[in-house]
Symmetry: C2
């Protein structure tokens, strides 16, 4: 039952993540990224999971990250199709990483000293859109970086 208690706790923590990301789905007319003109794809938070990552910035804390893809991207991943077909979109969601004291208490019994980290607040979300004609100058990929549903400036997108 301890294991189940831990999983339930994790699920309760996660509920906030799902709820807090709901408003980030795009609507027509929303602001587009500079240079590439990419808007937030509707429903991207419900896309299928590609991978998870962790990033440690020197002196700047840590992030937990998830990559999700639309159906075209997931199909290409599964079938090993390269280069990615036009229409493929990959989203990278970045959160701050925070310690979960609740998880640590439960885990400390079976695994003494274990530290559990969960997602905190959302930092930003990035989109890569494959369109070999429109984005021919940048290898066929368009790019966007949104914070609180607002795209970053031109300088950010030029990097």
């Amino acid at each position: 039952m301890k294991r189940i208690a831990f999983l339930l706790l994790a699920a309760a923590t996660a509920a906030g993540v799902v709820a807090s990301t709901a408003p980030a789905s795009g609507h027509p007319g929303e602001e587009a990224s500079p240079i590439y003109g990419v808007t937030i794809p509707p429903g991207y938070r419900d896309w299928k999971l590609i991978a998870v990552k962790q990033l440690h910035f020197a002196g700047m804390g840590e992030q937990l990250r998830a990559q999700v893809g639309n159906d075209i991207a997931i199909k290409a991943f599964k079938e090993g199709t390269l280069p990615f077909p036009d229409g493929a979109i990959i989203a990278a969601i970045h959160w701050t990483q925070v310690t979960s004291e609740d998880n640590n208490k439960v885990l400390d019994v079976p695994f003494p000293g274990t530290k559990s980290f969960v997602v905190g607040s959302r930092v930003n979300v990035q989109f890569m859109v494959k369109d070999s004609k429109r984005y021919a100058a940048t290898g066929g990929w368009g790019f966007a970086d949104f914070t609180d549903s607002k795209p970053g400036d031109k300088a950010l997108h030029e990097t």
Copy 2:
């Protein structure tokens, strides 16, 4: 372009993850977990993402983890429905965490000293199945822990 190069690199790394997890989908007749009789739900790797986590085991390395849910579970999360309705299933996929030297090289230019960690091999996958009648003795939740599509033993499921 450096940012796009990094994202493409991340996507290439992820391709292995998606491909390597494909055979883990369940089929009728597969072995069920002791005590709870839970089998691997077909297509769970395509469920929607709930949250990502990182776990640091004292002296035992680190794991990156993702929780995904079936449609009933995702709906309950979004609408804040508690307790979870019968039929909800949450899957927790656990991978080893490894350093990505390729990512580090790209990231070191804009963010000197940044360390990037990606998923290595899959460790195990756990399922929590809500069935208030069948699992009344354990708070309405059944549990399963699979490694290489084989359920763990009775002792593991008793904890």
